[in-house]
Every structure is written in structure tokens, then in C-alpha cells.
């Protein structure tokens, strides 16, 4: 009995964040996109149940929210990793062999064209169109930090740092 009550309590607390977002936006269906953006910040993606919850709370059809969430590339309906790696595949970066960096990360993290997030939910790899930093090609953005003239060795160094930091953080817990 205690276990299930604890579980639901946790979920209620979790949804409290969503309730706060709804509250902040005045439960206004016209503000669906900012609501989805803020919700995605909480969960790192848009879980199905949360989409349902948002739709029923805003009194709009679930299919409508699903339509908006699938229309914009910004929204993800799949869980994403804690750290997001974006490889620029615009013309300049492509010529400067961004594909080689992609292949290297695929191998290193065990990913492929379908599987974009690691099983431990630590990394997600995305290929994006031109980031507008062509002078630095090839460009890789990791957690909002821009790295220019990237080589596979550089990627390894950055990933090693992140993994080490995660391990220390875990150890401290």
C-alpha cells in the first residue's frame, strides 16, 4: 500500500511542474507552443502521458496537440539523453567531413541512424542543418557549447570529460 501511494505521490509532484507551466500560461490553448516548449524542458522530451495530460487540461483534442508536437522538429516524442550532441551537416561542414565525425560517435556510443539515444540516456546525437558558423566547419554543438574545426580525437576528449564528470557526480550521491 505504501509503495503505490509513494509512486502516485511522486507522479503528482512530477505533474505539479506541468500544472505550474499551465498556470503560468493561464491555461490558454493559444499558448500551446510555449507550454510544450517549457514542458519539454522539464522532461527533455514530450512523454505521451504528458501530452494527454496537457490536452485534457487545456480542453483541446489530444490529436491536435500531437499534430503540433509532430509538426515542429524542435519537439521530440522520444526520450532524449542528458547531453545533446548536434553535428552540423550544412554544406560547409559536410564538405569538411561532418559524416566522419558522425560515424565516429556512432561507433563510440553504439548508435545508428535509427537509434539516436544511448541506453543509459546520457547522450543523444542529432544531425542538424547549417548552424551559421561555416567559418569554423566542421561544427559540433554539445550542450549549447559550440566547438569548431572538430576532429574525432577532439570529440573523444569532450566525451571523456562529460563521462568522468557524470561518474564523479554519481559517486558523490
Amino acid at each position: 500500500m505504501k509503495e503505490s501511494v509513494e509512486k502516485t505521490k511522486a507522479m503528482v509532484q512530477h505533474l505539479a511542474a506541468v500544472n505550474a507551466i499551465l498556470e503560468k500560461n493561464g491555461h490558454d490553448p493559444g499558448r500551446l507552443i510555449p507550454i510544450l516548449q517549457e514542458t519539454q524542458e522539464v522532461y527533455k522530451y514530450l512523454p505521451r502521458d504528458v501530452i494527454s495530460y496537457l490536452a485534457t487540461s487545456l480542453d483541446v483534442p489530444v490529436a491536435h496537440v500531437y499534430g503540433v508536437a509532430t509538426f515542429y522538429a524542435h519537439f521530440s516524442l522520444e526520450p532524449k539523453g542528458k547531453h545533446i550532441i548536434r553535428i552540423c551537416d550544412g554544406t560547409a561542414c559536410h564538405v569538411k567531413k561532418s559524416t566522419a565525425i558522425q560515424q565516429h560517435i556512432y561507433q563510440r556510443l553504439g548508435l545508428n541512424d535509427e537509434k539516436r539515444t544511448t541506453d543509459d540516456l546520457l547522450f543523444t546525437l542529432e544531425m542538424v542543418s547549417c548552424l551559421g558558423a561555416c567559418g569554423l566547419a566542421p561544427v559540433v554543438v554539445i550542450d549549447e557549447e559550440v566547438h569548431g574545426q572538430v576532429t574525432p580525437a577532439m570529440v573523444d576528449t569532450i566525451l571523456d570529460q562529460i563521462i568522468a564528470a557524470e561518474k564523479t557526480a554519481k559517486g558523490e550521491e
Binding site: 500500500m1 505504501k2 509503495e3 503505490s4 501511494v5 509512486k7 502516485t8 505521490k9 507522479m11 503528482v12 505533474l15 505539479a16 506541468v18 500544472n19 505521451r48 502521458d49 504528458v50 501530452i51 494527454s52 495530460y53 490536452a55 485534457t56 487540461s57 483541446v60 483534442p61 489530444v62 490529436a63 491536435h64 496537440v65 500531437y66 499534430g67 509532430t70 509538426f71
Partner: protein, 689 residues
Amino acid sequence: MADTAIKKLTVNGREVTFSDERNLLEVIRKAGIDIPTFCYHSELSIYGACRLCLVDVEGKGVMASCSTKPAAGMVIQTDTKEIRNMRKINLELLLANHNRECPTCTRSASCALQAIAHRLGVETVRFKAPRKEEPIDDSSPSLVRDPNKCVLCGDCVRVCSEIQGIGAIDFAFRGSSAKIAPAFDASLGQVECVNCGQCAAVCPTGALTPKQDSSKVWEALYDRSKTVVVQVAPAVRVALGEYFGAKPGENVAGKLVAALKLMGFKHVYDTSFTADMTIFEEANELLERIQGGGELPMFTSCCPAWVKYVEIYFPELLPNVSSCRSPQAMFGSVAKKVLPEQFGCRREDLVVVSIMPCTAKKFEAQLPKFSVDGKPEVDIVITTSEVQRMINSLGIQLQELEPEAFDMPMGFATGGGVIFGASGGVMEAALRYVAEKLDNKPLKKVDFKQVRGMEHLKEATLEIAGNEIRVAVVHGLANTKKLLQDIKAGKVKYHFVEVMACPGGCISGGGQPWGATDRIRIQRQQGLYNTDKAHQVQKPQDNWLVQRCYEEHIGGKPGSHEAHHLLHTEYQNRSQIFDAKLPIMRGVESNRLPITVTICANQENCPGQLLLGMLSSYVKDKKYTPWVDMDAAFSSRPAQDGTICVTVGDQIVERTHFHNAMNTLEQLQNQAAFKKITDAIDKGLAQIR
């Protein structure tokens, strides 16, 4: 205020007057030029997606006439070489993406894509199809969705959200991946679709069609061990003729009876008979509620799409819905009880078919509550469009047939039973009954014209023998939603409300001939009223064969124990379809009982959490765990009325008497409702194990 001054513009060199038309397209159509369109419906919002209604406006160039406001002095060409080529290319592009297996498509004869391609002289499709084959969704008992035939005009999306206020389907994804889909790409049978079929009624192609069940009817007719009878709904008779050259509204019941006899149906009955019976039950229920202080307003329950709607969106109003079954369901239970004896056949050898204007009736017939020992009371439901195909497949020339009469006794109906097919008809038939009952003398004037017609909401206040009876009639579920909100807010008060999901009532149901407009709807309604007018017996209470049926088979009178068993039903709360869920326990056996408790996520200490804990302990103590799936469902809805929903299997343990003030174990445990839930779990487990 609308600008109604008369202005002039020029179309193809001819002067045309206009006033407050909402777009150029309507002005041009009024001038007698039928510009082709897919995505334009006068009842829906303007979308401008199909790019077929292009016209050349002098000084402005080529533009879509549906989304251009008419202005005085405009000079318009509807057909130039440029426009013709553009339309053709647009059509070719649509066709390139379209599954063109036309001969096997049920919409082949009424396909707008095919008709327009033909009209514009598209002879080849030069483009290769980039599409990949999408699976066909036939999960719904009412409708089939074939995404490979969709042209993305969005008509279905707009009718579902604008007319029905539901939005079960919408556009999803973008660019070349764009498609029409229910939420999460689920199948139509899993979502909040109420099966009304209005999407199929506007779909220009075969992307959304009524499910075809006529092959099951042929199977039954060819099986010599079966006795096959059929009921025909009121609205079918005033629309079927349109397929065979008759005017909308022409009553072809007699010819249809003759055709059905030729097909091999043993007896042909009239659903209007059980419509009369519905009035006996429903009007008495209304009088009891008025005189005995029951829940008011009472809502009609004939329309299965409306019933499903209220089950999903307004479960708190379920006690207000009449407990009467629909006429189709009443016919099923009465026929299965009465006819086997009359024909000397076994109950399982009697096949009851219904011909309905409605796709939701297919859904209703397969509900477990309308089955006895796992066998449905109405075995097969086909729509008007399907019976047309059956008639054609047999080579019957409907218009050449000599009319025949329905078979007795269940083929006899009053005018009141016949008008059930029009919005306002159930109300009018009920008023004929109620007025006479309350007044205690024969009713002279049987017409209640205030409740007729195409207006969205019709209201009337009647003075009957010192009683004031306030009634409302509404059609279209979006209109209904507004009315329900007003009723809940106490802004309006009624005794009796009739709801039909489809515009104008059953006469424009999802299974009727394709392409209904308000003009056709009015003609079909008029067809029913004319039939009523020409009838010697107009008041349902004067149907002596219904009276005799009560005496011989249904406990003697309306409201009897037997009547409750055969003619009434219970409703299911379906409001949890889209709640966010959290799995609490998962069983391991293949057959498992699902249990869901709804928790209000707006409230830190919702008693639902405690209740969930108690139920999970109960399941563990009883060692039911391997056979149980338990979920917590989160909603912001229960906060509104302070109740918690618990479902066990597909049964709702109805709006239990727990409320927010209860937050100790003892308070919850002492509730009779807690016992009700554990009993339901015990019973469910006993069935599963």
C-alpha cells in the same frame, strides 16, 4: 453587421451582383459556374488547401477564390490557359499520391477526385508516387481509414472539430510525411471517435468510408439453416431513392421492402415500430422524473454517437440520459425474444439485420451489453449506402418495383415513429404522448412545429394542463457541447432535451448517400414529415400493435420489470481514454483484469491516492496479483465535481461516494462504495481465473 448592399463584379465578361457572400467562390457559383473544389464546404471554415478553385483577378493575378473576398468592380476569369494547366497539374500531383485501385473502392461511384479528374480531362499522371504504403485502419466497427487514398484536404478534420466539437483526427507531421491521424497514430477504434461518420460524409475520396458489412448479410441469406429478418430505420427511406434517380425526401419504403424480399429476407420490419415503443418508455420516464423529482433535464438516448459523446466528455451527466435503449437496440431484444417462437426456429438461428443511415449504430450493435450469451441481439448493421450496393449487385431496378408493405406486427408504426429520423422528431413524438397524458384528453393538434427545422438550437415552452414543460432540441455535437455547458452553469433550464449528433438528424447520418447539403437535408426531413402527415395514426400511443406487444411479451405495460430488462440499458464512463497513466502493478498471466483509479493531479492530498493504496493492498492480500493490471490515471477533471472514478475491467464502479473531505483509511473503508469496488474485483477475478 453584414454588409448587404448590392454590388457588382464581372465574371467571364458577364456582370454578376453580390452582397454579403463570404468569398468569391460563392459569388461565382451563384452565377452558375461550378468551380471545382475538394476542401471547400459552406458549413466549415475556409482552408484553401486544394488549389482547385483558382481564378484570375485582373490586376492581382491567379488566386484561390475560396479565400478571396469579393469586391465591387473586380474583373474575374474562371478559365484561362494558365488556370486550366495549374488545376490539371494540381490534380495530377494529388493523383500521383493516391491509391488508384478505383474499381475496388467503395467510393468509386461518388468519388470527387475521380469526378474532377474526369471533368478537367486529366488523361495521364506524369509523376511517380513517392509514397509508401500505409496500413489500412479498420479497427473501428464503424469506419475504415485508408491513408493511401487521402488527399489531405482536411475536410474530415474540420467536420470533426467544428461540427462535432471532438477533433479525434488531425493533421500530424509535416511536408511529405504529413498525414491525417488520431492522437499518437493510434487506430480510430482506440480513440475518442464517437463513430458518427460525418468525416466519411465529407471525405471527397475513399480515405474514410463506412465499414462494409454486406458480405455478412449475404452469408446469412445464403445459409438455409438461418431465418433472416431485417429492420429499416426511418431516415433510410427518404434518402435511398437518391441513388436511383428519386428526389431527396421521396419515400421509397415500399420499393425497398419489395427489394429486400427479392433478396431473400423472410420478414421486413420497420424500426419506427420500436421508435413508437421508445416513446412509450421514454415519455413515461420523463413524466416519472418530472413528477417524482428525478434528475432533470432528461436527455434522449436514441443516438449512439451522442451517447458515446456524453460517456466520454460529460460522464457526470449520465444520470440525466434516458435509460431507454435506442429503437435499433429495442428492436433487437424484442425480435430475439418474440420471433423465434413465432417462426418456430431456435433463437440462435434467427439473424436480425438492420439497415441504418448511421455508422454509429454498427458500434452500438457490437457493445457487449446488447448481447445475450455472447451473441448480439442485432447481428449485422448495414448502412443506406451498403443496401444500395446490395440492390445493384442483384440487378434489381428499384424504381421499377411494385411497392410492398412492411410485415406485421413489427412493421406497423405511427407518424410519430417515422419522424424520429429528423432533428426534433423524437421530441415531437414524445410531446404528442406527454401532452395527451398530462391533459388526460385526446390531443387534437399533433404538430409541434417549433421543434422542426435546421436551426442549431430549437427551444419551446409548452403549457400543458397547468404544467410548464420546457424543451430543447439540438443537433451537431459542437452545438450540443455549448448547450451542455450552459445547462451545467445553470444559465438555461429544461425538462427534456433531444440530441442528435448529425446535422439535421439521422437523415444526414454517416451512412447516407454522399454529398448532403442543408438543402438536401431539409428535403429529406420534409419527406419524413410528409409521411407523418399522410399517416392515419400519428400519435405513438395509438400504436395498438405496440400495446399488444406489451400485453403479450413485455410485462403488460411500459416501465414493467420485463420492459426494464428488454428496453433499457446502463451507460459507461469513458472519460479516462486520454488520462495520463502510471502503472502500479502488472500481472504475469495472459488474462488480466485492468483496474484504474483516477487521481486529481491538482490536489496534493487527493483521496484517490489512499484509495489506490487500499486497493493494491486488497489485491495483494487476496493473492490476485498475477491476474491484475493496476494503473493510476491522472486528471485535472475530477477536481471539478469532487468525485473519483474507479474502473474494474470495462465496468465503471460508478462515481463512487468518496469525496475530497475523506482522507483517512477508516472514512474510505466504511463507504459502501469501497465494498462495491472490491466486489467488482472479486467478480472480475472469478471470471478470469
